[in-house]
Symmetry: C3
Subunit: 128 residues, 3 copies
Amino acid sequence: MAHLIIQYSENLDSQVNMTNVCSVMSGVMQKTGLFPLAGIRVRAYPVMHRSIADEHPENAFCDMILRMGEGRTDLQKSRVGTDIMAAAEVEFSAQLANPNFALSLEIIVISKLLSWKKNSIHNRLRPN
Amino acid sequence: MAHLIIQYSENLDSQVNMTNVCSVMSGVMQKTGLFPLAGIRVRAYPVMHRSIADEHPENAFCDMILRMGEGRTDLQKSRVGTDIMAAAEVEFSAQLANPNFALSLEIIVISKLLSWKKNSIHNRLRPN
Amino acid sequence: MAHLIIQYSENLDSQVNMTNVCSVMSGVMQKTGLFPLAGIRVRAYPVMHRSIADEHPENAFCDMILRMGEGRTDLQKSRVGTDIMAAAEVEFSAQLANPNFALSLEIIVISKLLSWKKNSIHNRLRPN
């Protein structure tokens, strides 16, 4: 189970194809080999109302949270975080080149004891 | 204080009445007897951009987080989680019958020390 | 790094200017002296689907989460939480005066080990 949740300021919608960003991030997560494909859920949604730093009209942010099930080591978590961040820096390179952009990522672990899941995609993607 | 936050892929909007799902989940939470009615806040919102598993166009997800105040036992938390998940499996039975749906729930406890609340609904709902 | 994330029921949109609320909250955060201006990201977004308490049509909620980097003391966290909550009670005083409103705030600390950031606003706002 791996959820990448991307929250961003809506002024990015005219600059970046966020559905494509979701695809790119899923690819990064797949390459780590840490997550079964069926469990990867990347999504992104804009927020309309905001006050970022000094409220320069071009200020924008993209804030990512990766929630994953227990069982990966700190080193594995650190590697996937580094990989996602590196890919995000490429996707948002135009924004980072201007002094108006804040990019962030945090990894949060999902408690095994206090979580539940049912995923019908697994059967379709499981090799015969 | 009990917040059930439901994030889902927007392709579910044409299949499921999400306001009704919120009502059903509130009913499940009420029945547990663990939460005062005035403190129950269930909400759901769609995310437009996504990459789910193999990106089959019918892929969809519903991811729920239940945030509740401290003071319930692990057994109580486990029971309310099981009840919510069971109700969700009924609400999304059509989706789970197809190999394109991922349903998930996690319970997260709200720190008492680092939280604040003011709720004017309590007075109205408190018995005289 | 300080993220204030405000989730609210969409019926507040006709009552409150949420962009202004974001500005006010940023001002409160700035005054604490705990956060560099470039790192402050306040945002607010409505949720359409909901079931709040007894489902009175005027029921509304505003739920805030402040995510901040490690390194502040519990006393500092408590103070900024108290300040934000006090400001929110002013902004939503009309709503709190009616028996249909639930306001809440929680502070969550961002793990230093499992977070990444890149912020191009810092250079612009740093004094020469």
